[in-house]
């Protein structure tokens, strides 16, 4: 016999249920499209895992990075302590430079600052942007610190491709209630973020 685990989202008076709804699958929780937006914020709920997809995050300002932070007080403050690692690979279009490096300027050590998801700056030319994904594990836990793993590729302003690998944990046992994404400077000119929940 299979078990179907329903979340406690007040399914009062439910009279029908589409068979294709796929409980237990990756479920779209929310999405947002930036349009000269200072930031994009999402509420975090009780899914065991959240996966955010970034599609063509385009900055208003040249050579800035996409960043994020968490809140434990329903968005009043985005200042959760984090420790992280960051490494990357790059290759330029001129084929004169490659690297696989740890990036000490993009990691955090018990810092409440925003965590970079990219390094070396996303270009703001019309065809330049960043795309990728970020996993958040069990943000509502009141027992464990909250792990995150990201991977994004972006078009650097001076014609490099750069493969970014941020990871770490929010070093709190309070539940994370919100997540905010913003550029390190200036607006998010364009771009779409899809938020999926997994149980």
């Amino acid at each position: 016999m299979s078990l179907i685990k329903l979340r406690n989202n007040a399914l009062d008076n439910l009279t029908s249920f589409e068979g294709s709804a796929s409980l237990g699958d990756m479920v779209l929780v929310s999405s947002a499209t930036a349009s000269s937006s200072a930031s994009i914020e999402f509420d975090l709920g009780s899914y065991k895992e959240y996966k955010f997809f970034f599609v063509n995050m385009h900055p208003a300002t040249d050579n800035v990075d996409l960043t994020f932070n968490f809140s434990t007080d329903n968005g009043s403050n985005y200042n959760v302590t984090k420790t992280s690692t960051f490494f990357f690979a790059f290759h330029n279009e001129a084929n004169t430079a490659t690297a696989l490096n740890y990036e000490a300027n993009s990691d955090l050590a018990q810092s409440t600052a925003f965590q970079p998801l990219t390094k070396s700056g996303i270009g703001n030319a019309n065809d330049e942007s960043a795309s990728g994904f970020l996993h958040i594990f069990n943000p509502s836990s009141t027992t464990y610190v909250k792990h995150f793993i990201g991977r994004l590729n972006h078009y650097v302003d001076n014609n490099f491709t750069l493969d970014n690998f941020p990871a770490g944990y929010a070093n709190t046992t309070s539940a994370l209630t919100n997540i905010k994404f913003q550029m390190s400077s200036g607006n998010i000119d364009d771009g779409k973020i899809l938020m999926f929940g997994l149980n």
Binding site: M26, D127, R151
Partner: protein, 201 residues
């Protein structure tokens, strides 16, 4: 102005569950199984319907030992697979019996502004039990504004080495991509399955 997106936790008084809800999950669009195939091409379904396409590679087995698993795209409905690309390529490896392991960038496996097929893997053994498995994300292929980012992670076994390989980059073209092709750098795809999923809001 900031965008604030609230959660969906107020489902009281539902009288029907909208059929649109499943559209947010990955949708299996196509499955292709190789059998001594020169290539596998996805010629339909790559359009503006989905923001992200995910390809899963399951035991891609080359006919020719040492062949590399590769990819290219078309902007003219498959007439030509020659879109300009720049990529990165690095891997970690470990020998089964030899005390040899490393994390390394492989400059010989990447490309810079090349129209040729790019490597998703380094060379793969064609031993009966050897293959490549992994996944490849392609972002917004139908955009006519942005270059098209991709991110790949695969695993393979080659001559008794475990290899975990990471490729990323972009199709440096603002035309929409219409087709994707996968093949080995030499010889046929002897066996293997590729599944294509669409992901959107």
């Amino acid at each position: 102005m900031a965008i604030i997106k609230h959660g969906n936790n107020a489902l009281a008084n539902i009288t029907a569950f909208p059929s649109a809800i499943p559209t947010g999950k990955p949708v299996l669009l196509s499955t292709a199984t190789a059998s001594s195939s020169a290539s596998i091409e996805f010629s339909s379904g790559i359009d503006s319907t989905y923001d992200i396409y995910k390809f899963e590679f399951i035991n891609m087995h080359p006919a020719t030992s040492g062949a590399k698993f590769t990819c290219n795209a078309s902007i003219d409905n498959g007439s030509n697979f020659n879109v300009v690309k720049t990529t990165t390529f690095f891997n970690a490896y470990h020998g089964e019996t030899i005390a040899s392991q490393a994390l390394q960038y492989l400059a010989g496996e990447d490309i810079a502004q090349s129209t040729g097929y790019f490597n998703i893997s380094s060379g793969v053994s064609n031993n009966n039990d050897a293959s490549v498995s992994g996944y490849f994300h392609l972002f917004n292929p139908s955009s006519t504004t942005y270059v098209k980012h991709f991110i790949s992670t695969i695993n393979l076994d080659n001559a008794n080495y475990q290899q975990n390989e990471f490729v990323a980059g972009y199709f440096n073209d603002t035309n929409d991509l219409t087709n994707i092709s996968f093949k080995f750098s030499s010889g046929n795809i002897d066996a293997g399955t590729i599944k294509m999923y669409g992901i959107s809001a």
